[in-house]
């Protein structure tokens, strides 16, 4: 790492916010001999490699500036959507709230995704169930603050459709009855796609909610695993000071051809006390 990571460490010591984005992972060539790993492994790997790549590209100008907000990217993997092709694409995102919520997280994440991809609007955003204390069941109250923000984004035409993940029939029904903008999809874990609870299937059918599949772990990124990745890439910093707030995974699909055009992660982290 040497000088690279020292410059990165110096920048991180002075900044309050870190925006990390991987760019289009399909430009990375990660498959190689290794079997594609789980989402969690993939993500940690992406964070590490993005940090390393960014560290190695830090300009002397930037070091002199000491920006408050660090934009950490794999610059050559960044790929905006060609406006002429926007109509052919479906841009979807899944938002994972990691840290304690600040109400602006959802909006920040969607804004950043739009700007990274060069689009005015996301076609669909799914919110992963927010983290709650052990032993507590997810209830409508947990979801409401995020959903309100998502509804606002639908009203302001930043998002076309919004959906949920891992809700059971009761939870989905509660949200549906309360929400102004109804969920148009609910993701269920891949493991249950062949053994769906009939009440959920019936409810979804009745209210035209698509049941989609995902293969994400319960906790895609923990504070600790983020800090570990940070420490590994940039050893001389106080990694434990940094907490991830949210993580967004996006994909750009060529609709009528079933082809993944682009896929990547965006993450925001804050230094404690700021």
């Amino acid at each position: 790492m040497g000088t690279d990571s020292r410059a990165a460490g110096a920048l991180l010591a002075r900044a309050s916010t870190l925006h990390l984005q991987t760019g289009n992972l399909l430009n990375w060539g990660r498959l190689r001999k290794k079997c594609p790993s789980t989402h969690s492994e993939e993500l940690r790997d992406c964070i590490r490699k993005t940090l390393n790549e960014w560290s190695s590209q830090i300009s002397t100008d930037l070091v002199r500036e000491f920006p408050d907000v660090l934009e950490c990217t794999v610059s050559h993997a960044v790929e905006k959507i060609n406006p002429d092709e926007r109509e052919e694409m479906k841009v979807s995102a899944k938002l994972f709230i990691v840290g304690s919520n600040s109400s602006s997280s959802t909006r920040n994440a969607v804004d950043m995704a739009c700007s990274v991809l060069g689009v005015a609007q996301l076609d669909s955003v799914i919110i992963a169930s927010p983290p709650i204390e052990d032993g507590v069941n997810l209830s409508l109250e947990h979801l409401q603050p995020y959903w309100e923000e998502l509804q606002n984004l639908v009203h302001s035409k930043k998002i076309v459709a919004i959906g949920t993940s891992d809700l059971d029939k009761t939870q989905l029904e509660q949200l549906y009855q309360w929400a102004q903008v109804k969920p148009n999809s609910n993701q269920v874990n891949l493991a249950s796609c062949c053994v769906m609870p009939p009440d959920l299937t019936a409810f979804a059918k009745q209210f035209d909610i698509q049941l989609l599949t995902h293969n994400d772990p319960k906790e895609l990124l923990s504070e600790a695993s983020f800090q570990e990745a940070l420490q590994e890439s940039i050893p001389d910093i106080q990694a434990h000071e940094w907490v991830p707030l949210w993580l967004l995974r996006y994909s750009v699909i060529v609709k009528s051809r079933g082809i993944i055009k682009s896929k990547g992660y965006i993450l925001q982290a804050k230094r404690k006390g700021f």
Partner: protein, 639 residues
Amino acid sequence: MGLLSQGSPLSWEETQRHADHVRLHGILQFLHIYHAVKDRHKDVLKWGDEVEYMLVSFDHENKKAQLVLSGEELLETLQEKGERTNPNHPTLWRPEYGSYMIEGTPGQPYGGTMSEFNTVEDNMRKRRKEATSLLGENQALCTITSFPRLGCPGFTLPEFKPNPVEGGASKSLFFPDEAINKHPRFSTLTRNIRHRRGEKVVINVPIFKDKNTPSPFIETFPEDDEAAKASKPDHIYMDAMGFGMGNCCLQVTFQACSISEARYLYDQLATICPIVMALSAASPFYRGYVSDIDCRWGVISASVDDRTREERGLEVGPLKNNHYRISKSRYDSIDSYLSECGEKYNDIDLTKDKEIYEQLLQEGIDHLLAQHVAHLFIRDPLTLFEEKIHLDDANESDHFENIQSTNWQTMRFKPPPPNSDIGWRVEFRPTEVQLTDFENSAYVVFVVLLTRVILSYKLDFLIPLSKVDENMKVAQKRDAVLQGLFYFRKDICKGGNAMVDGRGKTTGSTEPAAEEYALMTIDTIINGKEGVFPGLIPILNSYLENMEVDVDTRCSILNYLKLIKKRASGELMTVARWMREFVANHPDYKQDSVITDEMNYSLLLKCNQIANELCECPELLGPAFRKVKYSGSKTDSSN
């Protein structure tokens, strides 16, 4: 089997006289198409499967199963009640070589959204049900690749004795002309192949040596000089086109977004052909004997080999009557890659029509496409109809299709028909047909998903084409799926960025070509092996996780990929393996490699029960397959 023209077929002598005319105008027709649509792009994914069926009759009293020679009438009824009554009818039916065969396809192509994968099996079921409903009592529609007692006495209903005379089509000792589809194209094709070749076709399949199989295994044909000379010891001898073209296959065709995408996929999938063939192995029995091969490919290849002795290189000295020595039958693996990235792996000596090649270059066609077409056009037309000699080259393509559709290769690169909405297409042709709609859907969905993954991740499977040919040979051997080693590319990721992946250091050092590929088992290729190869199924799964897929569709795909995965690992049997075990365990089997009428009957009865879900077959399909939720609903998740 390609296009069917009505009319009066010409004899081989007459057809040969028009061969240059057909080639000349075939090329002009191709050029018209090429210039009109070479810049077509942004075509959506559309795709379709083709399943071939055999009509089987069961005589329960005498324990005998026969092939019913009623394909033509069945086809007429199906078309009358279906596509001719309703242009949106969900199925389409076409004739096939055998009078006991029929081919079914979906009425409309499937589209590019994920939920379409959930409609394939439903459509196949519709086809099976629709055709079955028109059959007589004790008759069944079977999807078996080769009929075990094809060519044995009395294998057809009604029964016919072969009549091996020069005036007939096959002149076969075993396969009566009555078993050939009555449309004149098929018998003409048969006769003209034989006449062009100058003798009957010769198929020798190694016999499986069981405990009581005579060794050497020798059949004598005292009444037929040709057969006596052509048959080899320790081989099952066959002498007619019907032994090959009378087998059933499973094909899939898809539309690419542009000509360059079509050429890229053509090349990439060419390397997958032997792998999927071994995985789909389903034809271990020929002419009433247990053979030592599991796949039909070489049998069909020999069954339509129209090359003369000179072309096959059997005559010493310079060529007297023919233009070329030709290394392969018209039915064989491809001889050249079509995409730019494939060029450096084109290591097979390509026979081509030099004049046509030059003409195509002058017309602005690149070297790779020009040599591909010039290679297809070394062949003579095999059938020609008197009424179809003089055509409008700007608006018709029959002469081009005449040559193109009688080059039966593992992959087919298909230009759009003139004046149509159809784009550039690619056909994947090596797969053996499976017993059930579930299995056939699984193989078809696997291949189409693989094309999506290749395009998304910009994968590169290319290896020298001569290695793909070696794989084709290995793939047909008995139990190749578990025993065979196949050349496969080690690093399949070319779309990657060298820096991020830590590959920047290797720039400048060109790896020796031999390092690019290694010998792998099908299990490694399909399921992956830590540190060796990522595996096609893990890559497919990673693709699927990034797509929006509804739960019903995902469940179906999960079960399809589970089947492929377990066939590759050996946890489940291929149809070929299962049939071998069925015969080995049959009380009548004498361990002498002979399949009697009664064994043939019980095997086909069992196959039919499995296909119609009247009994389970966990060793073939897995225990859970009947639980597949089967809705066929189109819940569109990608729009």
